[in-house]
């Protein structure tokens, strides 16, 4: 029994050696939730980023040097991403940071990268404050508000449904989508019958489903991730609610269809990964990702892949590892990536088309595209 205590102490002291031995690779930092409730998105985004790194290194790297991805687990918690950001900047000396995580950790890391004047790209976190941290912070996906407005156009104009019930996931993702949706609902003639909120930990929605049924809406605008939307949609259908359900990029994974099963048929989502896209970047990405990961690509993987490609191109064009030069290159970049053409405005936001996907016999397929620059314009300041 005594020996065990000593073993515990010894193994702990041995582990104190850091891993920062010098090498001639260009380091890119990557924080993602590898453990905790968001572990699935963490894994997808990390694999998406690793695919991009593999592709770039196989094509000869950048100016003769290979890219190295430094991955850290932030458990989707703000308190975890602060030391990570400082470690990436201070110890690993990354030239660019990329967030493959949710909004809370991304927001706290963005402030640190801005202060250290090192460019930081958010792959899919949608909180408006991220890019407000400063001119060194960029985002390759559209904001929650923008996607919410697209949802209003999809329901009100494209589908022509007027009586809508909103089921909002109570976190920053759900709240900013709802804000965008409400902002444009009237313009598209939508009457919001009711709005219900649920917590990210909920999987059984008996009460909300019962109330929605009594509201008898034409359509439901429900925000959530696949692990909440899957059960929600299947319980809606099982209780006899037949109207169309509109979701967002949070649903965008084959796991959603696996969970909801037949109930997923006909669900439409606003996202940025078009499975039926003819564009080579997207088609290649979908094929390569499935080969690497062993499961079909999802929006989170595509976003991380895009963010790494943006960083790599910027380093190549800057032809140097000076963070300031890389930042300027990112700001002026124009790249056709798996999630659309990436061009940043003065605030570091992108303006790209919204790909609407629909579940048809168990697979995501293109439903329609929204390319209304005025509607989808991200904030400037």
């Amino acid at each position: 029994m005594k020996k065990l205590r000593w073993v515990l102490v010894l193994c702990f002291t041995f582990s104190c050696f850091g891993t920062g031995w010098a090498s001639d690779t260009i380091k890119i930092g990557f924080n993602a939730p590898l453990t905790g409730f968001a572990a699935s998105d963490g894994k997808s985004s990390t694999l998406g980023a690793k695919l991009a790194i593999k592709q770039i290194n196989e094509a000869g790297g950048i100016n003769g040097k290979n890219l190295e991805l430094i991955v850290y687990d932030d458990q989707a918690k703000a308190s975890q991403s602060i030391p990570i950001a400082n470690k990436m900047i201070g110890q690993d000396k990354v030239v660019v940071g990329i967030s493959g995580s949710y909004s809370a950790p991304t927001r706290s890391a963005a402030g640190i990268f801005q202060e250290a004047k090192i460019p930081y790209i958010s792959a899919y976190a949608i909180h408006p404050d991220i890019t407000k941290a400063g001119d060194y912070v960029f985002r390759t996906s559209f904001l929650g508000e923008v996607q919410g407005r697209a949802g209003a156009k999809l329901i009100g104009e494209i589908l022509g449904k007027k009586r809508v019930v909103m089921i909002t996931l109570k976190n920053d993702f759900g709240k900013s989508l709802a804000a965008g949706f409400k902002e444009k609902a009237k313009d598209f003639g939508i009457h919001i019958v009711n709005e219900y909120e649920y917590s990210i930990k909920d999987r059984q929605f008996g009460a909300i489903v019962a109330k929605v049924k009594s509201d008898k809406p034409d359509a439901i605008y429900a925000s959530g991730y696949y692990f909440t939307a899957g059960p929600l949609v299947s319980q809606l259908r099982a209780s006899g609610v037949t109207c169309t359900v509109i979701g967002q990029e949070g649903y965008d994974s084959d796991k959603f269809i696996a969970i909801a099963g037949k109930a997923a048929e006909g669900v439409i989502i606003t996202t940025s990964l078009d499975r039926d896209s003819k564009a080579p970047e997207t088609a290649d990405f979908i094929r390569e990702f499935e080969k690497l990961a062993g499961y079909p690509a999802d929006m989170v993987a595509a976003s991380a892949h895009t963010a790494v490609k943006v960083a790599a191109l910027a380093i190549k064009q800057a032809n140097s590892t000076d963070p300031e030069k890389i930042r300027d290159e990112i700001a002026g970049i124009s790249l056709k990536a798996s999630t659309g053409t990436i061009e940043f405005n003065s605030l570091g936001e992108v303006s790209k088309n919204v790909q609407n996907q629909i579940v048809k016999n168990g697979e995501w397929h293109r439903h329609s595209v929204i390319s209304d620059p005025k509607l989808l314009a991200p904030p400037e300041k």
């Binding site: 409730f37 572990a39 699935s40 930990k201 009460a207 059960p231 099982a238 796991k255 696996a258 969970i259």
Partner: protein, 286 residues
Amino acid sequence: MLFIELFIQGLIQGSTYAIIAVGLTLVYGLLRVLHVAHAGLFTLGAYLGVAVTNQTGSLSLGILVAALAAGIVGMGIYRLVYEPMLNKPPYVALIASIGLYIGMEELFRLVFGPFGLSFSSAPLQTVVVVFGIHLRACQIIAVVTNVVLLGGLAWVAQKTRIGTGWRATVDDPQMSACFGIDPIKVRYRVFFAGSALAAVAGVLVALLTNLVEPTMGAVPSYKSLAIIVLGGLGNVMGTLIASLILGIIEAFGTIYIGDFLDRDAIAFAFLIIVLMIKPTGLFTSR
């Protein structure tokens, strides 16, 4: 119409809480230990239930394997974790149990992957319309299993010799030992029964949501603690009733005071109000 549906949904939710919490209240009644890792057995049961059903195609075999495995693991936890800590202050077992739960959650993620498991074709999903209310077979079965299992357990506790043995050991282990009841055997039986029930609850929830994830035990791990306090510690019937009441309050709460308190806050607000009025919980603890 809406009220009936909310009431039924509350019953369904309450039933899953009850089956999990009953194991916990028995363990607490017996050892005064807050067995947080009990929720890990709930998740273990869900994983095994779905995995076996997907392989063999038979749900009943899945439930059986899940219950048996969880029961054995539960006994193992008693022997390796709690037995050496019985004479230690209560927080020791509490922290060890929380550490164990975190470890179990991580093991599930490492073994089964972060994406969670679903039924290849979820059984018991046929919809039955009962005077206008659409209910899935699994929802009805959840309530029925709860009533049968807990009713049976309460009957065993009241009427049979084993049951009285359990209750006697809860009241006074030394005294019941004088009457030939081996308290150690009773503890193993209680851990087996409680863990098996948690596994059954796991499979039931997997049927309701068709999603098994490493962290699915997080909510039950703390909510069932609130329930065993409400239901009176070690009191099976009390736990059943407290779980159903909580399920119903949560169902109505999410709709009517949803924008003031979230689901967990409603449950704990209810608990604290009850404790302020009656510090020993809704029912006298055995």
